[in-house]
Amino acid sequence: AQSVTQLDSHVSVSEGTPVLLRCNYSSSYSPSLFWYVQHPNKGLQLLLKYTSAATLVKGINGFEAEFKKSETSFHLTKPSAHMSDAAEYFCVVSDKGSYIPTFGRGTSLIVHP
């Protein structure tokens, strides 16, 4: 069975400071993990994905995430926040062979000037 927990419903940072959005997952085996971003009144867009290749995954807009099997985590980071990063972020897990991914409840990132 697969499940995902986003540990923070809201994260507030100042522009130019680092971003950390936390995600823990549970999976039977060989999970694929994704981060999606949703800007206000828009659909979801893929930021990055992990599919059993390199554990450090780089995505769009300077975001990256590290797959840590021992900690069952897939936290999203960015060295320096921009105002345009303000959005809702979703962590997603999908077991190998599962056609229906499981979404986290989302983390709202607020960026202050």
């Binding site: 694929s32 994704f34 999606y36 828009k42 659909g43 979801l44 867009q45 893929l46 994905k49 599919t51 979703f90 999908s94 077991d95 190998k96 062979g97 599962s98 056609y99 229906i100 991914p101 979404f103 986290g104 409840r105 989302g106």
Partner: protein, 116 residues
């Protein structure tokens, strides 16, 4: 190339009326998903299609909700006798499908449904 499109973008309907929401997936994507997103909430899974068949309808909230997919392409989500609690954004996504690999989903912009 063309992404996932949904129509209408906005729909206002009176309580008790039926509505149809349409999704055009990316060409060649065999998997299609419908989700519901209420204000400030996460995504609620509704239904999944593989080709024209729906192996998993477990997320449909009630028998007022139904969906079909024809020609392995366009899908329609129908809500009968709409209620105010049906007000939400309905998102469609498509992806390639494989038993050995989890492909990412591509989302449409959504249909905002308001039931008055």
């Amino acid at each position: 190339g063309a992404g996932v499109s949904q129509s209408p973008s906005n729909k206002v309907t009176e309580k008790g009326k039926d509505v149809e929401l349409r999704c055009d997936p990316i060409s060649g994507h065999t998997a299609l998903y419908w989700y519901r997103q209420s204000l400030g909430q996460g995504l609620e899974f509704l239904i999944y299609f593989q080709g024209n068949s729906a192996p998993d309808k477990s997320g449909l909230p009630s028998d007022r909700f139904s969906a079909e997919r024809t020609g392995g392409s366009v899908s329609t989500l129908t809500i009968q006798r709409t209620q105010q609690e049906d007000s939400a954004v309905y998102l469609c996504a498509s992806s390639l499908a494989s038993a050995d690999y989890s492909y990412e989903q591509y989302f449409g912009p959504g249909t905002r449904l308001t039931v008055t």
